[in-house]
Assembly symmetry: C2
Homo-oligomer: 70 residues x 2
């Protein structure tokens, strides 16, 4: 079941990124994270923590809460 | 600024826990996390990750999204 939150979170990050019309590379650049890390998040294999949740939210111009709106 | 999300998250966990009328010990027990870890989260010193966010949400009977409603 904790796998599930990673998967739901990752899918939602991908959705928001695509809605923003930016690539994984672009999200990686603006969030100051590695592209493979972004890819892993979107595939639901990363146990993302608060600091990086915040960086991704900022880069996608949403609130951290919006990243959990799934 | 990333310190800030830990602090905001921690305060909100504390608020929701107190609204639930349970102690840190009780939250620790029901989330299967250590009491000192719960205390650290509430003090904003932990970089909590998805799996534990999920456990805490479940123990507080809220959605992960509600934990970010600050």
């Amino acid at each position: 079941m904790t796998d599930n939150i990673r998967i739901l979170f990752g899918r939602h990050v991908r959705k928001l990124r695509q809605e923003n019309g930016i690539s994984q590379e672009e999200l990686a650049f603006s969030s100051n994270l590695h592209r493979t890390y972004i890819s892993d998040i979107e595939r639901g294999v990363r146990n993302v923590s608060l600091d990086n949740i915040y960086k991704i939210a900022l880069a996608l111009d949403v609130s951290p809460k919006d990243l959990f709106d799934f």
